[in-house]
Amino acid sequence: MSQGTAAAGAGSTDAQSQQDEFNPFQAMADRFDRAADLLGLEEGVREVIRAPDREVIVSFPVLMDDGKVKVFKGYRVQHSFLRGPAKGGIRFAPDVHLDEVRALAAWMTWKCSVVNVPFGGGKGGVVCDPRKMSRGELERMTRRYTAAIMDVLGPERDVPAPDMNTNEQTMAWIMDTYSMHARRSTTAVVTGKPLSLGGSRGRTEATGRGVMISCREALKTLGMRPENTAAVVQGAGNVGGIGAQLLHREGYKVVSISDISGAIYNERGLDIPDVLSYIKQNRTLEGYTEADHLPHAEQLELECDLLAPCATENQITSRNVDKIRAKLIVEGANGPTTSAADDILEERGTLVVPDILSNAGGVTVSYFEWVQDRMGYFWTEDIVNTRLEQSMVAAFNDVDKVRKKYDVSMRIASYILAMDRVASVYRLRGLFG
């Protein structure tokens, strides 16, 4: 459901500028530069915190079910070790390439820094088409990839997590492979594991919960109240679905939600638990009778107070930003707002809570999982949720202070905060060797 890619540009210059606008990493680089200027970062420090610390490229053989050996290419980029071990997902997809992995690793550095968890950023991936592989092939590929990057992994070095096309099971295989090589149980080497192998309670809901907390904190700064707030949620998965459910529980009027098939709308507010159980039963929103149906593009332009894009990147762009009517945008997805749209929203005074703050609930609970694994003791869901709440509120307030100090958007403020934290750790640690 990416309207972005469907709308092809007319002329080549247009196509180029559109490609730039829709490249979220270009967007991040723009924001990095702007934040660095505002911070007055000297050239050397700027270079140090921008360049990835280490990039590992591996080729490794896997025995396929048909008896042939196939060689796969895998990456692990560790962007920064300044604040702690690297942390970030591993993705399996046919179009994984180094540039993307590198950008996502940097993104993780800033995200971890904004919510103040003691990690640097990392990202990894294997070029493969998981839909065309058997479970056995996937397991063998995961284990061999783990063995190939084994030397740079570890609870104190680099802690992967699930990402596109990887899940709890993948993490269990990585944990097992690492443990067998290390000759000891090492649960803290990955997060996003199943509960029975050292996973954390509350992790699946963490990102959605973080989105809800961000909404609440943002409402406070705007002097709004949940019961008078009409919310539109794009996406009904782990982030959007859980987010909508929690917003509903907190008294918001959730007027619209969408999934891959389209969006539904009810001016008086949707019965979200009912909608979600409908999706669970039918695996789609299609045919839900208690609301009007409308296409994706129109959902974003609905009259509402709060818009939470929780689906995919590049949803709010220079093409539709003029029609966005929400006073508050809270980003559940990564990169749902393009840089160009961002500038317009800022001029207009729309408050945008940026992804690296508002969807950082996931990485925060990943951090909690690592902490729990290191002590071998597991918190109740209540404790996980309470601590997540504390972390998110603290991060929101930290960003808000920077926003006021520099008179910038929440997004630029987040980058300033994140980069300043990394830069000051760099100054404290100094150069080794």
Partner: protein
């Protein structure tokens, strides 16, 4: 073979100490395996997984040469059996026992796997020890044996590999030697490699009466949830054993207003249906080491007779197979809670089940000790000692969650509590194994 070629360690075997009386013929290993088989079958565990779970992951035998005080070298036998690592590092007892047998250790290791799984503690089961008679050996000989045994096993021990705990004849001093040996070889303090250490070396608060407190929690839950006893009288409890499990339990229950009607040691049982003055009795035992000449006014009887008195709850906390096929029909309690390891024999278990008498099995009821061991390991990893109150509260939570899970299985599968506990354990371990897969 010339006499001078005899291994001085063999002296320990002369004149076997009285072994645990096994009135029913099954060996402990056979009992554990038959329980596992039944649980696996009822759960419908896949055949491949069944074979993996049934066999210990690793068994290590080692010779333990020790410089004896008389200048000779004695070579003792040592073992460590590691049963299943699906849930996490191995953890289990280290015992010093002249009658130590590999088969018993296999049973104990498997039993530890199931026990940890019932309590949802992230460990797999292990068991080991040295075939040595600590009563015939000097402390320095025992220390040298323990250190050498530890050194032999260094490759497989450690906080994330295999964690030792005290057991028969191995106390907190022995654990301190193990901890010191591991730490010196590893060149860093490895407190979490061993649990049951002295408090000064990172031992946990609440270790002494951990098992008894866990038992009390389970006993309370069982009375409430199985609706045993009536509201018009305080529950009447009979306890076999007055050591650190039975004695502490008696003290805790007496303090909580229960009527403790019976208590025993190896020599005699004291009985008063109106309730015994427990503090007085325990004080006497602490001074004299026995209940024999205790002046309290009450009936005296044998242990066998005590097991047959009428009461709400019978808690056997002394020896294995105390309730066996010859006396199971005589038990007049409404509920049995196992404080000792295997106090109800496999045959007696079937008899009691037919009689409809609920038995809360050892792997659930006496797991308070293992939970406290686990807490010690956590505290050592955190480098933070919990206050006694926190240990108690968290222990109670683990016991309650385990009880609830076992009870849910009992209802779902319509089986006795012992089977429900084993099924829960086998399910958890087989799921963890399946998630991890078989590597290389």
């Amino acid at each position: 073979m010339p006499d001078s070629f005899r291994n001085p360690a063999d002296q320990d075997l002369d004149g076997h100490l009285a072994a645990t009386p096994v009135l029913d013929e099954e060996t402990p290993f056979a009992s554990v395996q038959s329980l596992f088989d039944e649980a696996a079958e009822k759960l419908g565990v896949a055949e491949d997984a069944y074979h993996v779970l049934r066999k210990p992951d690793r068994e290590i035998s080692c010779a333990v040469p020790v410089q004896l005080d008389n200048g000779r070298l004695g070579v003792f036998d040592g073992w460590r059996v590691q049963h299943n690592m699906g849930m996490g590092p191995f953890m289990g007892p280290m015992r010093l026992d002249p009658n130590l047998k590999l088969d018993d250790l296999r049973a104990l290791a498997a039993w530890m796997t199931w026990k940890c799984a019932v309590l949802n503690i992230p460990f797999g089961g292990a068991a080991g020890g040295i075939k040595i008679n600590t009563k015939r050996r000097s402390q320095t000989e025992v220390e040298r044996a323990v250190r050498r045994y530890t050194a032999n096993l260094l490759d497989v021990l450690g906080p994330d590999s295999d964690i030792l705990a005290p057991d028969v004849a191995s106390d907190e001093n022995v654990m301190a030697w193990v901890m010191d040996t591991v730490s010196l070889h590893e060149r860093h303090t490895a407190g979490a490699a061993v649990t049951g250490k002295p408090v000064a070396l990172g031992g946990s608060a609440g270790m002494r009466d951990g098992t008894a407190r866990g038992l009390r929690a389970i006993l309370n839950l069982a009375l409430e949830r199985l609706r045993i006893g009536s509201l018009d009288h305080r529950p009447v409890v009979v306890i076999q054993g007055a050591g650190h499990v039975g004695g502490n339990l008696a003290r805790l229950l007496h303090g909580a207003g229960f009527t403790v009607a019976g208590i025993s040691d190896v020599n005699v049982a004291l009985y008063d249906p109106e309730g015994l003055p427990i503090p007085e009795i325990l004080e006497h035992r602490a001074k004299s080491g026995t209940l024999v000449d205790c002046k309290v006014e009450c009936a005296r009887m044998t242990n066998e007779e005590l097991l047959a008195v009428e009461c709400d709850v019978l808690v056997p906390c002394a020896i294995a197979n105390a309730i066996n096929s010859s006396n199971a029909v005589d038990v007049r309690a409404k509920l049995i809670v196992e404080g000792a390891h295997g106090p109800v024999s496999a045959r007696a278990d079937r008899i009691l089940d037919e009689r409809g008498l609920p038995v809360v099995p050892d792997i659930l009821a006496n797991a308070g000790g293992v939970v406290t061991n686990y807490f010690e390991w956590v505290q050592n990893r955190q480098g933070l000692n919990w206050v006694p109150d926190l240990v108690s509260r968290r222990r109670r939570r683990f016991m309650t969650e385990a009880w609830n899970a076992v009870l849910a299985f009992r209802e779902q599968y319509d089986v006795r509590l012992r089977m429900a506990a084993h099924m829960l354990a086998v399910k958890r371990v087989s799921e963890a194994d399946a998630l991890r897969g078989i590597y290389a």
